[in-house]
Symmetry: C2
Amino acid sequence: MSDSPISFDPTVVWDRIESLARHGKHGETGVARAVYTPEWRAAVDEVMAWCDSVGLETRLDAVGNVWGVLKGTDPSLKSIVTGSHIDSQLPGGRFDGILGVIGGVFALGALKERYGAPTQTLEVLAFCEEESSRFPNTGFWGSRAITGLTTEADLTNVVSFSGEPIGEVMAAAGFDPARIPEAARTDIEAFVEFHIEQGPLLEAEGLPVGVVSAITGIRHYTVSVTGKSNHAGAFPMDLRLDPMAGAAEMISNVINRANEWGRPAVTTVGRIAADPNFPAIVPERVDFMIDARHPDPAKRLELYAAHEAALQEIAARRGLTIELSNLMEHHPFVCDPALVANFEQAARTVNAPFQTMTSGAVHDTQQMGRIAKGVMLFVRSKDGRSHTPAEYTSPEDAALGIEVLTEGLRTLAYR
Amino acid sequence: MSDSPISFDPTVVWDRIESLARHGKHGETGVARAVYTPEWRAAVDEVMAWCDSVGLETRLDAVGNVWGVLKGTDPSLKSIVTGSHIDSQLPGGRFDGILGVIGGVFALGALKERYGAPTQTLEVLAFCEEESSRFPNTGFWGSRAITGLTTEADLTNVVSFSGEPIGEVMAAAGFDPARIPEAARTDIEAFVEFHIEQGPLLEAEGLPVGVVSAITGIRHYTVSVTGKSNHAGAFPMDLRLDPMAGAAEMISNVINRANEWGRPAVTTVGRIAADPNFPAIVPERVDFMIDARHPDPAKRLELYAAHEAALQEIAARRGLTIELSNLMEHHPFVCDPALVANFEQAARTVNAPFQTMTSGAVHDTQQMGRIAKGVMLFVRSKDGRSHTPAEYTSPEDAALGIEVLTEGLRTLAYR
């Protein structure tokens, strides 16, 4: 195995990206492909056909995850799995998720072609759902089933934006909800997710590739600030209990704190509503959401404690009532150091300029981390854009990322 | 005319408040009475019956304003008019507007009973519409017709929240839109509006009555702050162009400025929206509205200039684009000093504890100010509440306010 690393033609990679983007095509460069829709099924079928065409053992599991297996010669070893998700935002772009599936099929196909069966089984995986773009509370529907954490209650509690329970939607798409437990796996050693960065850091550094050492933890707070609604003219400033004034100070406070902490801390207020929402009435209540992230488990909790203390102090000082609830929590995931080192070496071997970095977005890797070791590989995103049709990764970067993935899977699985 | 001032029994005043509140009754203490509805018509009919019962010459004008006339003995003198509006918020309370109509009927009835015909004609007026609660852009439908400023274009451009042009709605209510110009008046010398304060200042001072020396000017700005939408996790703080961070700083800035200026300056942000409005996305744009008021014409413009300069500075410093448009403008109205002095003296005569103050709310008096001198009288509002069923003024305060109104009209009209 001293030959040169496997390389991929960027135009061939690009053709496959374009081909998949037909399923749920949205405008010129967008994709809107939600789980269990006809366009999603068309994408599933195309990925299965690719797996078949390179001689993988292809199957669709009970929730709709696609698996392509390249059997290893040592049956005592657990699998090494690579992949990402096949669904998209509504609309998202052509790369988020699906590039990891395309890359995995290319990698396993090329390894099989050059080296035949690996020592350790390699599998490519397309998760059926990750984006929560059709059902807001799926909680990683594909990877959660693989880890065995989907419950029967989810079938009715996970409801689409238009009110359909996911159990009914899956059944209509030809999947028997009673069989979901069959999707669970306990025989995976490592999961490797290849993905676009979705941020601007690699581009800013002029690097095509990132090896991810940790994935951020997230907490979503809902903050409800209640004051006293009053006439915007007849009620003087000094007697007001104005929840908008309080909310504005709170929003500035948490955003400023993340700014002061610097990378990799982030805090976002993306959602806000006033009640009532009239120009000439001091609102009674202002609700907003805080998304705060840090990949370091201890620093993350320190960030949250500082945010919470400031919110409470501002409310108390202004005579406002605050309700703070913790709507969503993802713990940070620390990638396996040996896997990180393996892919750093793979990047060096294929001459891919890279940095080791953290991920500010959450990924299926965190879920897979419950049952396996994990690591991620990033490729550069143009302008850091994602979750939009403007999302872009060049054919050259995509192909180079697949080369790093392939080389890293080779050193892991062929011994 | 050296007898004691005319007094009113609070229980009689209260009965009339309760009686009028039946038309559009909303819950226990609320009123929802929009112009040209059957409940509005029932209120109009009741007010006309009251005017008839005390011997006023009663008529409904072309837009639906009610007039009750007590003819003066000197036909060379223009009229002195008192009144307020008969419509309400949806729901509002039992006092806003209608108390000035009830007070005017009581005043003219009692003056006629005790003193007969005045020297100068006295008229009581119930404006058909002031609240913009059914049609958001009426712009004072009742008083605007009296000042002759209603246009034919208004009949189609003024549209209800449910999409009906006001011309069609008035016609269905039995009013011929072509006759609106007949409602114009050019023979009014003074307009006196008796109204609840709608704020907490009189209550805070322990005073039942206020004599208004100036009515605030208002400007409504729409502010649109555009940055760059990005992923809440993958995009680091230092590279963001976050319009929410900018909006929060702007909102704090303008509210803080009004706080620092102190009374009577006010600034309110009551309406806000983020686009997109998702918890995990830095918004592309945040829109909000600013309501900023000051009754002093020069200081008002100074406040606006300071607000605008700060908004522009914050946007420029943060690399955000700002669009600032001036949606609504009401100029301040300075009440006639002689009329103010007349009602201050009336309050002293009837032993009503009072202060001279400005109005932070806009009123029909500002419109009437285009064709006549004007002044307002306030009575105390409980907790400063208004535009809500919780609005409350005690029977004693209401009766005392009517006594001041009656005494002031007497000294103006009987000579």
